[in-house]
Structure formats: C-alpha cells, structure tokens
Subunit: 307 residues, 2 copies
C-alpha cells in the first residue's frame, strides 16, 4: 500500500502550486498525496497557471481562509496561509493520519509580515515539538547537517561552544550511525583558524568532537576540517556527510554541485518531514515556463516513499 503523504502547499505566490500540479500524476505512483489547500485557491491557482487540476487530485485538506494570489508578491496573507497549510500538515502527521510531510517553499519575509515568529519551517517545527529539530540537506553522495541556520553571520560565533556542540553531535550519531562510517565536522574560521592566527573557535569544536568520539568509542567525527578545502573532489571521496557550522558553509558547496536535486529533511523530530531544497522562486512564479525543475520535489517524495 502506498504511504499517505501530506503536502503543505507553501507560499501560493511562489512556484509551489505549479510543482504540485505538474507532478501530481508522477508522485501519485509512489505515494498517496494529500494537499493542504482550499478548493477555491486550488482553482484560482490552476486558472492563473493555465494548468488543469488533474482529475485524480481529489485529496485536499482546506485551511479555510482565502486570499488573492499575486504572483511573486511578498504578502502577509500569503505568508499566513502558507503557515496554516504547514501547521495543518504537521498536525496530520502528529495524529498519524499521514506517514510524513513534504513542504513546498514558503517565503520567510511573508511569514514575518504575517507576524509569524519563526524564521522557517525548521525553526517552527522546533517550537511545535519543543525539540531540537536539525536541518539536513543533500542529494546523491553529499549530505550536510546545519549546526546553525537562519541567523545572521554575526550571531554564529556565540554558538560555537563545546557544551552546545556536544548534544548536537550526539543526535547526529544516533540518527546516522547506521548510514555513514564517518562524518566530517567543519571548522568555523578560514584555514580552521590557522593555529590561532584567524580565530580560536576550533578549540571548542575539536574538544566537542574528542569528547563525543570518546563516548562512541571510535573516531566517527572528524577533527574540524579547513572549510575551503573540505569539499574538494578528494575530500568528497572520503566524506559523504558533513556538519557545517553555519548555513552557507554547507549549502554553498551543496547547491554549487547539486542545486536541482537537493532535498531538505528535518531530523530529531517525532514526525518525518522533507522539503524541496529551493525557495519560492518568485521571479519565475506563474510564468508557466520551462525553467521550473521538479527534481528536488520529486526526490523529497521519493525519500519519504523509501523511508
């Protein structure tokens, strides 16, 4: 039997609905999708996109508050709707109505305008479940867990403390010990601080690694690697999973190599959640164009189907 999967529809001013519509038939072959969107908005979006609603797309779960779709626009209404769609999808997973959820992209600025205090899906999940949800992104043979994510660069260093790093490493170990033989841990500073010439945060990272490796009983986590050479072809032969100290440190190389294919998964939560790796792409929304790439969306569904 196919797994029931909740699709939170994302920001309706972005590309999410188009992805949902054009891939419905395809993904229905491996899962049973339930879309968290109201009938009137589904119809409005379908009209704007000039894409018919597939006959078999019947399984929808309304939110109840309509608004006017405006392609590519940051708006409080759209932000609120995408948040409610997401929240309902999460509820359905929590209640066991679905096996897991796949979230289409939301716009963080629209969430902010709507007065939603979370900086993204992952931070909201963290709050819903009062658990340290961790964001992992990847494709093919390159996976990255983000130690910090949607915070400004200036806030990163204060989190680089062994007492915060250790619980994080412990979770990664428990989640991935059966999937990877070893995991790369990145340094924070250029050249890994170069022996203190450009930063000392690596001392904290190294101590956390040593402590957790001692608990585990072998060197599962690497010493902090010099970031700019951690993703060379030679290093990627050695490591398939990386812990990056900040968002762009891990996502720049991942998206440089595998932008179209990457998916996002949340770990350390009581529910299964995947997401496309990209954003709302407001610049190409409702242009019904050929640039739109479905690889990431499909991979996110495949990941759930295979879980």
């Amino acid at each position: 039997m196919k797994k029931r999967v909740a699709i939170s529809i994302g920001d309706l001013n972005g590309i999410g609905l188009e992805l949902a519509l054009i891939n419905h038939k395809n993904i229905s072959q491996i899962v049973e999708p339930i879309y968290f969107i109201d009938r009137d908005l589904l119809e409005l979006g379908s009209d704007l996109l000039k894409i018919e609603i597939p006959k078999s797309l019947k399984n929808i779960n309304g939110i109840g508050k309509s608004f006017n779709i405006e392609a590519g626009k940051v708006s409080a209404e759209s932000g609120l709707y995408s948040f409610n769609s997401f929240k309902s999808a999460v509820e359905s997973a929590k209640n066991g109505d679905v096996f897991g959820i796949s979230t289409l992209p939301i716009n963080k600025e629209s969430w902010k305008l709507a007065g939603i205090k979370y900086s993204g899906h992952t931070s909201a999940l963290r709050h819903f479940f009062n658990q340290e949800a961790i964001m992992v992104m990847g494709a093919n043979d390159l996976w990255v867990a983000l130690y910090t994510e949607h915070i400004s660069l200036s806030e990163i260093p204060k989190f680089i403390k062994r007492e915060f790093l250790e619980p994080f490493l412990r979770i990664i170990w428990l989640e991935f010990k059966n999937k990877f033989n070893k995991i790369a841990v990145l340094a924070l500073n250029p050249h890994g601080g170069d022996g203190g010439v450009c930063g000392n945060d690596e001392v904290e990272i190294e101590q956390a690694v040593l402590n957790i490796n001692r608990e585990i009983g072998f060197d599962f986590f690497s010493r902090p690697l010099v970031p700019d050479i951690a993703f060379t072809p030679r290093m990627r032969n050695e490591f398939k999973f990386y812990i990056s100290m900040y968002h762009d440190q891990g996502l720049i190389p991942l998206k440089t190599l595998y932008f179209d294919e990457s998916i996002n998964i949340s770990i350390n939560l009581p529910i299964l959640r995947t997401s496309v790796g990209h954003g709302t792409a407001f610049d190409i929304a409702y242009k019904n164009n050929r640039i739109l790439n479905s690889k990431s969306y499909i991979n996110s569904i495949v990941w759930l189907a295979n879980k």
Copy 2:
C-alpha cells in the same frame, strides 16, 4: 624573449620545493624562472626528495640563512626562511629585475612562530607597498575576489560598511572593466538576510553597489546575491567573477569545483604576483608521491607568461 619570473620557494617543510623541481623543465619553456633559495637548501631538499636538481636550474638567488628541513613541521626557522625568500622575490620585482613573482605556499602558523606579523602573502604585500592589495582566486570561468580574507568569522561584520566597500568596488571596476561585463556581489547573511529576518548588512552592500554603479554609469555590479544559490550552474552561466564578503564564501565553491587548477593573484599592487591556490600540504610533503598536482603552479606561471 621569455619573461623573467621570481619564484619564492615557500615553506621548505612543505611541498613547494618538490613542485619547483619537478616542473622546472616545463615552466622554463614559457618563462625564465629565478628561484629564491640557497644552494645548500636546494641540495638538501633535492636529497630528501630523491629528485635531482635539473642541470638547467642555475638561476638561484640565496637568502643566506640556512636551517634543517623537517618534512611537515611547523617551525619558526622554516617560517622565517619562507618569509625572507618571499621578501627578496618581491624586492626583485620592485626593482624591475623580474616581470613578476609566483609564490609557493607558506605556512601561516610558522610565520606566526617566527614573529612575522602578517597573516599571509597578501597581507604582507599590503604592508610592503602600503596599498590595499586584493586577493583574487580562480580558474577557468570562475573567479573570486575576497573582500575580507584571513580574519576570524566574528570580525567580518564590522567591515560590511558602505564606506569601506565603495573603494573596494572601485578598484575591482578599474582592474576588471575590460575583462568582464558584470560582476556578482554576494550578500553576507543566509538568504541575503531574508528581508531583515537574519541580518541587515545587505543594506550596506546594496547601497555601496548602487553608489558605485551610479558612478560607473551602468549596472556593472549586481545587487547582493543570496550566497547559497549564487554558484549554481545557472548563476555561473551568468557570472564569471564574484566578490565574496569573506574567505570561505568564495573559496569553498571555487575549490569544490576547481581545487587543482585554481591560482591566486594579487591585484592593486605595483608588482605582478601570482601564487598556487593550495597550501603547504604538510601531510604529503617529501613523500615523493603521485598525488602531487602541479596544475595550479603551472597555471600561475602561465598567467604571468600571458599577462
């Protein structure tokens, strides 16, 4: 007539000497290399490497202070020697004895042990010439200029001010206006700050870009680009030259794609200087192995030959 090029020998405990010896014949076909090393150390290194000194390698310029080469060791002696080799090579360029210099890698920690106050070649050049030398790295169709470089992550944000960014952009414009049609400028924060959700530094970057573009008369510099999607294949079709706000932001994608080929060039200086893109590789020094890759060293020489 072939151009005379000074080769500063780098940290003799690293892979520099091996690169110089095995590529001498090759690079001598396009330039006339002058090595900044003493005869006794050249012989000692050649013995340790079990690589004969090529008969045609006669053009050496001694530094005068010998020490004992210890493969892979961070040491004050080695740090000091590499600094003096570099300094002499720079002098020869300054005096017009050579067309330009190519620097083999030094170890920053060894420089620090030797009491050298510069965090690398580029910062030393900046001091020698009292000019804002800018570090540019690249290969093939991807080039990156570093706005900040060998400083800790925590120090970066204080440099993201329009009054510091504007003179930098002006130099890049003057240097590259004839080589590129447009240049990508990266944001600092994840998602470019996401409209203020995770940082506001992008306001400063954007203002600097707008001001300089107004001076120039057209949009030569891009608005601050979201960093993690700036190097996707689609974006690299559009941009061949990037300005990164910090070291790893630009060098992670460059080295992920073109680690072996990348070279380093210093711009905004009265002398021409190139360098290999990699470090001293202490882990493979004096192992006379097959891993050693000469592409970057050769590309740095080719760049000077074609300049």
